[in-house]
Structure formats: C-alpha cells, structure tokens
Assembly symmetry: none
Homo-oligomer: 226 residues x 2
DNA sequence: GATACCCCTGACAATTTATGTCAGGGTAGT
DNA sequence: ACTACCCTGACATAAATTGTCAGGGGTATC
C-alpha cells in the first residue's frame, strides 16, 4: 500500500521540480532506504514513465506527461485559493483582475462538489494599500509587462532619502515583500544591479529598445545573494 | 509489482471509457478476483483519485480528475506564479508544499510554449518568518484543516497583553494579513465571534465533535464588518 | 587524476502486503 | 421481488517489498 503512494509521490515530485532530485533526498523524505528508491525508479520506468537518472546529477522527468496531472487535493486547493486572493489583494488592478480570471478558469475544471467549496472557502487575504488610495498611480503593471517583454525603461525614482534620480534600466525581475514590490534591474548608469521600490517610482516610460537576456544567469545569482 | 500496473491500468481504463465500467469486467480483464478490484478502488480513492462506484451501475471517474489543457493569458500566468510563490513564502510547510505541487500541476497542463515562460518568470515572493525560525510550532495547518472539516477545537491562547486563556471554538475562517494569519471563530465561552492570531496560539486540539455551518451567513456579515 | 556525488545492481532473510475465498450487507432501477 | 451492481469483514496462504551488505560505474569539479 505504501508503495503505490510512493510512486505517485515521486512522479509528482519530479514533475514539480525542474532541477534534478537525488534519490537520497527522496529516500529521506519518504522514510525508506536508498535501495528502495532505486527499485521504485525501475518500476516507474518499466511502466513507461519518462524518468531519467544520471550519475552525479539526480533524477529528472522528461517533458510531456506520462500520467496527466492528478486533481488538486484539499491542501493544493487551499493554496490556490489563498494565492489568488493574496494577489487580488496586493496587486494592482490589472494583476488583481487577472487573478480573478485565473481563479475562475481553475474552478471551472473542478468537479462540482469541489467547485462549491472553492468559492465558499473561508480563506481571505487582506492587504492595506500602501498610499492614499485615491490618486496613486500604480506602476506595477507597466513594469511587469516591461519585465516580460525585456523592454528598456526610463524611470524617475525617489530613493528612501527622497533624492530623485533618472535612469535607464533593464527591468529583470519583481519580488513581492510584505508591504512593497521590489524591482530588480540592471542600471545602465551605474553599470550594476540595482533594486527599486515600485511605490517610490515617479514615472516609467519605455525607451522602445529591448534587450536579450544575457544577464539571466547573473540575475539569478544576484537574487540568491540577497 | 502486478499491483502497481493494475492501478495505472484501471486509471487509464476509466479515463478512456465514458461509460461506467463494472468491477467484474475489470477483474476478468486483469485476471484477478472481484475482491481485489474493490480493494484497488479503495487504494485509488485514498490517493485522491475521485473514482466513484455506484451500485447497479459501475465505476466512473469524475470529471475534474484529469485537468484539461488550460489557456491563461500572460497576466493570468503572472498572477498564478506570484500567487503560488506568495503562498510558498508565507504559508507553513504543508501549505507551502501544496503551493509547489499545485504550481507544478498547473504548469503541466499549459501549452508547451507557455510552460517555459512559466518556470522562468522573474517573479519572486519573499517573506520574513515571524518568529525565531528554530522552534516555532506552526498551527496554521491544523487550524486550516479544522476549518475545512468544521471541527471544534480547543485552544490555548495568549492575547496581545500576554494574558493566557483556554477556550473551545468553532474555527470559521482564516485571513492572511501582511504579517500574520488571523483565525476568525465562534467562541463558545464568549458566545460571540472572536479573532485569534495564529502566531499567538499556544496549542490546538480537536475535541472530536464537529459543527454544521448554520453560522455561514453571520460569519460573512461579520467579516464584512471588519 | 583525485575527489565528491551520484546512479545502479545482485543476493538474501525478514517482514509486510496482496490475494482468493467465503459470507455476508447495501442500493437503485425494473 | 428480482437483477445487477457496489461494498465490507475475516482469515490463511502466497507473493511482493524492504533493508542491509557489497559491490560497479559514470560525471563534474578542482
């Protein structure tokens, strides 16, 4: 009985991670011996699951699905519900609307009995709006799309000491902190990585040029160092 | 070994046929006894596969089991990604894991070209852990499942003035604020609605009893009044 | 060419599961 | 009442799973 659960768990796990998973970490997580994991892998492969193991690396699952994703369990549904509500509460209008739409699409594919509990779920998210709600121009969405399109933008920024500056940057990524969104970018002026708080932006404008992301790896390394 | 193949076969079979499949036909096809098929069904159900058996009909798989391909636009994808990462950052371990799994399942049903951008999306969520990270017992998940199951719980609570109390409550809902999770409940002792910060809970224990939600409407009204 | 990580395989005894059989009970439609 | 199913419990036997021990071999990094 334990075995079957384990096999499904392994599949799920390999699907979840892009990075290779070592047999040892699986063994530990599942409370079984290393040998058992190796045997499980043979079983999975013999059933046609596209799992590949490489020495010195770990296990990976090939793209394309051997088993279609299972339905969402109660915890996963909770995570989706609260996640979408968090975004709806903390994002700007376009992102909040998108969260609502995504939520609707997901609930549409749920079985009826789960669909009801999805909408009635007693999970809420609440967020205070950072500034006075009336006239705050929110730059989250323009910046977000600029990140997506890899478009250079020119910004007017007010740092935490209220010193204004103007610069052209490559917007690389966004991070949601407790209260603020942080934009990580490559600043052409400083020729280095810089972070900017979205709520301190005075203006955002695309220059029209776009960049290729040679900086991808460096960016990820930079993020890890934060 | 035979067992695992059988379970996968049954899943495949139920997905293939729209019409109900009888346990007997499965037993015959797989060369096992009827009893074994029934036991297999229990196993599948215990793994969260919504296979339904009806007397006089046969077995069928519920609609939401296999997620159909979903199409999300770029903004919706952003919302899902950041939402799941927010939950992963702010929930406790079970909820964070669930967010990761849900994320993987969603990405698995995306068209191929969208899948890459899903994983590479430069959107991150970061959250400071509220207490010292070592020995904080996290009550989010037990409370969350109690809300789901409508189970009475007995809690030891330390209010913001550090006054301890002990009470039996009906956990009604959870709200995620910037830094803390708030539990809204009906308190039997006070005979009124009360709110509790999850991080101030000292202990949580189910009484074993459960309640029906007559309080549903009142709860929603109460929440609106906050 | 060390070194550190990994994957992978075989064998064997102990334990845990799975299985068939027998004997019931339940439900829904006819 | 009948049919055609699903479902459950008990129990002895057969089969699979598991950990342990003892290896072999590949890949990347320094």
């Amino acid at each position: 009985m334990m075995r079957v659960q384990r096999l499904f768990f392994i599949l799920d796990r390999l699907r979840a991670r892009r990075q290779p998973v070592s047999a040892e970490s699986l063994a530990e997580e599942l409370g079984v011996s290393l040998r058992t994991i190796y045997r499980d892998m043979v079983t999975l492969q013999s059933m046609g699951a596209p799992v590949r193991g490489e020495g010195g690396i770990g296990y990976q699952i090939e793209k394309g699905y051997f088993l279609p994703p299972l339905h969402f369990d109660a915890d996963e549904l909770d995570a989706i519900i609260i996640g979408m509500r968090l975004v709806a509460a903390r994002g700007d209008k376009p992102l909040a609307d998108a969260a609502t739409r995504a939520s609707a699409k997901i609930s549409a594919v749920l079985p009826e009995d789960m669909e009801d509990s999805y909408y009635d779920a007693p999970l809420l998210a609440y967020s205070v709006q950072p500034k006075s709600e009336e006239e705050t121009i929110d730059f989250l969405s323009p910046v977000r799309t600029a990140v997506r399109d890899r478009a250079f933008i020119e910004i007017h920024y007010l740092n935490l000491k209220d010193q204004p500056s103007e610069r052209v940057i490559r917007p690389l990524g966004l991070t949601a902190f407790e209260k603020v969104w942080l934009l990580t970018a490559w600043c052409e002026k400083s020729d280095d990585f810089r972070s900017f708080r979205i709520d301190r932006l005075q203006s955002v404008q695309r220059t029209g040029e776009s960049f290729r992301r040679e900086a991808g790896k460096e960016f990820r390394d930079y993020l890890k160092s934060l």
